[in-house]
């Protein structure tokens, strides 16, 4: 839902607004903080979008450099002239083809991203665009982040966690950087492939987005080059996302910006490994600010590459030893192990109903805690019968009561 303060005026055509949003995104790509500053002056992105392009151009006509003691992220000449050119051009509808751009004005814009104080006006897409956007809106999304030069321990954990999350149906998001990000993406891609195979054998529709990568450069820029093969895989079986328009290169200031988008898309962020000043900590910080869950994988005391996660733990992040920790927080039962197979026997797509009432009840517990009333409605059994079945399952150790009159599949099996 759009925030009230940012509701655009109905009179301006949606196409025009879309074009403007894309224009803003382009401008923001070339000049850091541009959209943010504009939105601040107008009182929100929505208000800023209502400005006539000429007004926007006039306001920014003055040529400025982001001169900060001649730092490396000072605006380069090329960027300045690109900025000016786009500014002069104004918004153009052709620059916003539906399939490769989603704007803040569109329904398909990931709703969780709107919670950011400074949401990107547009997202440029490459890969399974439609399915990817849908998945971002519908599935559980978890970011897995960490150092670009992790240890084997970190790499292995990132892979295991990402694999198990994906197997459980969670959408794993990362930055396609070297190290932890790459490990997470690879594992997610492999696991998704396995899941698709499983679906095919059961006669279920295949498909589904394997993973989503959020980039700090244009989606057509493959950075770092050593990840070229991975880029192709993600493009083929997942989704690449960036708030920066095509052609924009990787610059240091764009990574923190990208991190905020990653945090904004995810319900939870898991930091696997990272040094004291790791960039992944920025993602975690953004996640905290948004009130999302933050997990950290602990390591040996004093270990340099666990300093980042340990710092998070000190600040109150949750311990993550495996995907299970994250899945619990998301409200999952442990579907991957033991009871998992029995429970996934009951799925709407199946169309076949279990005859055994106990299995019907067990199946209806898929996905979280349910009260007897809810189970009765789902299985069309009478409440006393459901209660009796639950008791039997409880005695068997398969389910447990979890407060509020609800039961769930028992963990740790």
């Amino acid at each position: 839902m759009r925030a009230d303060a940012d509701t655009p005026h109905e009179d301006v055509a949606r196409a025009e607004l879309r074009a403007r949003a894309v224009w803003f995104a382009e401008l923001a790509g070339w000049r850091r903080g541009f959209v943010g500053g504009l939105a601040a002056k107008c009182g929100g992105l929505g208000a800023a979008l209502l400005l006539e392009p000429r007004a926007v151009a006039a306001a920014s006509a003055a040529r400025r450099r982001a001169a900060r003691n001649g730092e490396a992220d000072a605006e380069s000449e090329a960027e300045s002239s690109a900025f000016a050119a786009v500014l002069a051009r104004g918004p153009s509808p052709e620059a916003a083809p539906d399939s490769s751009v989603v704007t803040w004005v569109d329904e398909a814009y990931p709703p969780q991203l709107r919670e950011l104080p400074d949401p990107p006006p547009a997202l440029f897409l490459s890969g399974l665009a439609t399915a990817g956007l849908e998945a971002l809106g519908r599935r559980h999304v978890v970011a897995v982040v960490g150092s670009r030069s992790p240890s084997a321990y970190g790499r292995e954990l990132a892979a295991t966690i990402a694999r198990d999350l994906t197997a459980a149906g969670v959408l794993v998001v990362s930055g396609l950087a070297l190290g932890i990000d790459a490990a997470a993406h690879e594992a997610a891609l492999d696991a998704a492939r396995g899941r698709r195979a499983g679906n095919a054998s059961r006669g279920r529709p295949s498909g589904g987005v394997a993973t989503v990568a959020v980039l700090g450069c244009g989606v057509d820029v493959e950075h770092p080059p050593s990840n070229r093969r991975l880029f192709a895989r993600v493009r083929g079986e997942g989704l690449l996302v960036s708030e920066f328009t095509w052609g924009i290169g990787a610059r240091p200031w764009r990574f923190p910006a990208r991190n905020r988008v990653m945090a904004g898309l995810s319900e939870a962020t898991v930091m696997v490994e990272g040094a004291e000043r790791s960039g992944a900590l920025i993602t975690a910080r953004y996640a905290l600010d948004l009130g999302r869950d933050v997990f950290a994988v602990p390591g040996e005391a004093g270990r340099r590459l666990s300093a980042g996660p340990h710092r998070l733990l000190r600040q109150g992040a949750a311990v993550c030893e495996s995907a299970r920790d994250v899945l619990e927080a998301l409200g999952y039962g442990d579907l991957a192990v033991g009871w998992g197979d029995r429970l996934t026997g009951q799925e709407a797509a199946d169309g076949t109903e279990e005859d055994d009432p106990a299995r019907r009840v067990a199946g209806a517990l898929d996905g979280g805690a349910r009260t007897a009333d809810q189970l009765a409605a789902a299985t069309r059994l009478a409440v006393p019968d459901v209660l009796a079945l639950l008791a039997g399952l409880e005695v068997d150790g398969a389910v447990e009561a979890c407060g509020g009159g609800a039961y769930r599949v028992r963990r740790g099996r």
Binding site: T371, L387, A391, E394, G397, A401, G404
Partner: protein, 514 residues
């Protein structure tokens, strides 16, 4: 001259025969009453004197001595005004004693104008008078209906002293008598209520649990966030409770009458009581007591429901006081000179929030209590009291779509019919044990009377092991399972009955404190 009028003193619910004697001799005029506490004497004298004069009788200017015999019996209250005045009138010859008025007793308070005011406990008084063998009783008109419940007693309702004097003068002949009460008819009229079981949307498991609880008179603990509907359920419980028998109705009426809660002119309490005291109530208020022992809420809820909302907020001393009634079914209040017993066989319904802010375990709202406060809050529930709770019911807040589910077929009447049938089966089984519902079975009763199928026994054994139940918890489960079997009309307890009973057990306060 000497005259005597029989009356009755109440100690708790028990009546004791009293003779009101009056002696009037020509001597310096004094009016003394012996046998009443000091302060009451002065007040009674003023009322009697004024009532006699204002009823156009002559107040003797002589030495008057009134004695309430026996002297060692504790008597009090203004209900002796009337017999004192009548005895006086007889002793001065203003009212003739016809055929000896040993056959007519009197009780009533007098107003200064000579009017007769109602008293509390008229039913118990009437029962005592009858037991004593006295044939008639003069009572205030507002108390006549309840007194008329006593068979074999001629009840004369009077509005003022003159009328009472006339009754005595005629020996009861020709005087208006209270009509006998058709208690059976009163009890069979269906309760009219503005609330019904079918008003409540969804909450099928809570409804089922409460139906089981009421059927077996099991004590219940409801836990849930504010606004979940615990109070709504409590208010509708009397509607699904089985109707009272005549004996039960009289027992309840007796207590309410002594407490002064019987509305004027009403004969009988026909509906099982639902008492819902506020949690600031004192121990004496809840359990009974006071300088003159009066019944507490727990006795006023005898054979009905005692609803304690915000259970952990009640004073510990008050809750401790509930132990005896929950165990024995009555309350004994001891004083220096006497001890009084009031009945208190209740179904306890306690309601509480899961934590101070109310939202612990709620699926939408977040609990804002620090965990030590949650533990502190829960620790206020005393172990021994929880031990007597047979069913633990969680009342969750409903999701919006659940709130639209209405089951209009399951009205209070329909549910009550099932509950009544189940209760009847219990009465048959429990005949001769002194218990009237499964909840009141002792361990011996359970062993002797509850028959479990082999699978049921196996399930119970497994549950005992796997779920680490205590022996007491197992007994509770069996009692509840018996009620479930009774509701199903089954001869023996099956595994499914035990299974359902298991879901109602207390899962332990800390098991889902996360």
């Amino acid at each position: 001259m000497l005259a005597s009028v029989p009356s009755e003193a109440l100690n708790g619910l028990e009546g004791h025969p009293v003779d009101v004697e009056a002696d009037v001799v020509a001597a310096a005029p004094t009016f003394s009453i012996v046998g009443l506490p000091d302060a009451a004497v002065q007040e009674s004298r003023e009322r009697v004197r004024a009532a006699i004069v204002n009823s156009s009788f002559a107040f003797p200017s002589r030495r008057i001595t009134v004695n309430l015999a026996p002297a060692d019996l504790r008597k009090e209250g203004p209900s002796f005004d009337l017999p004192v005045a009548l005895a006086l009138l007889q002793a001065t010859g203003q009212v003739p004693s016809v055929n000896g008025t040993r056959g007519i007793a009197a009780v009533g308070e007098l107003g200064l104008d000579g009017g007769v005011r109602p008293v509390t406990g008229a039913l118990a008084v009437a029962e005592g008078v009858r037991r004593r063998g006295v044939a008639g009783l003069v009572v205030p008109a507002q108390n006549a209906a309840e007194a008329a419940l006593v068979a074999g007693l001629a009840v004369y309702p009077v509005r003022d002293l003159r009328q009472a004097a006339a009754v005595l003068a005629g020996g009861g002949a020709g005087a208006d008598r209270a009509a006998p009460v058709d208690a059976a008819a009163l009890l069979s009229t269906p309760p009219s209520g503005d609330v019904d079981w079918s008003d409540i949307a969804g909450q099928g498991q809570v409804k089922r649990a409460l139906e089981v609880a009421v059927a077996g008179a099991h004590n219940v603990l409801m836990s849930g966030p504010p606004g979940a509907g615990k109070t709504m359920f409590a208010r509708r419980l009397p509607g699904i409770m089985p109707p009272m028998s005549l004996d039960e109705a009289i027992a309840v009426t007796r207590v309410h009458s002594v407490a002064g809660l019987l509305p004027a002119g009403e004969a009988l309490v026909v509906r099982r009581p639902l008492r819902a005291p506020h949690h600031t109530i004192s121990t004496a208020g809840l359990v009974g007591g006071g300088a003159t022992p009066r019944p507490g809420e727990v006795s006023l809820a005898h054979l009905g429901v005692l609803f304690l909302d915000e259970f952990p907020e009640f004073r510990l001393s008050a809750l401790e006081g509930l132990r005896q009634p929950l165990e024995d079914g009555d309350v004994t209040i001891s004083r220096a000179l006497t001890s009084v017993r009031f009945p208190a066989r209740i179904m306890l319904v306690a309601a509480m929030n899961p934590c101070p802010c109310g939202f612990h375990g709620d699926r939408e709202r977040e609990c804002t209590c620090p965990s030590y406060r949650v533990r502190q809050y829960r620790s206020r529930l005393s172990g021994p009291l929880l031990d007597r709770v047979d069913l633990r019911i969680e009342v969750p807040r409903l999701a919006p779509q659940e709130r639209r589910v209405l089951d209009l077929e399951q009205t209070s009447e329909v549910v009550r019919a099932r509950v009544t049938a189940a209760r009847e089966r219990q009465l048959e089984r429990l005949d001769g044990t002194g218990a009237y519902a499964n909840a009141h079975m002792t361990v011996r009763h359970v062993r002797r009377l509850c028959r479990l199928d082999p699978e049921a026994v196996r399930l119970l054994d497994r549950a005992y092991e796997q779920l680490r139940l205590s022996a007491r918890a197992c007994d509770r489960v069996v009692k509840v399972a018996q009620t479930i079997a009774d509701l199903a009309g089954a001869e023996t307890i099956a595994a499914s009955h035990v299974a359902e009973g298991l879901t109602y057990r207390s899962h332990g306060m800390g098991s889902h404190a996360g």
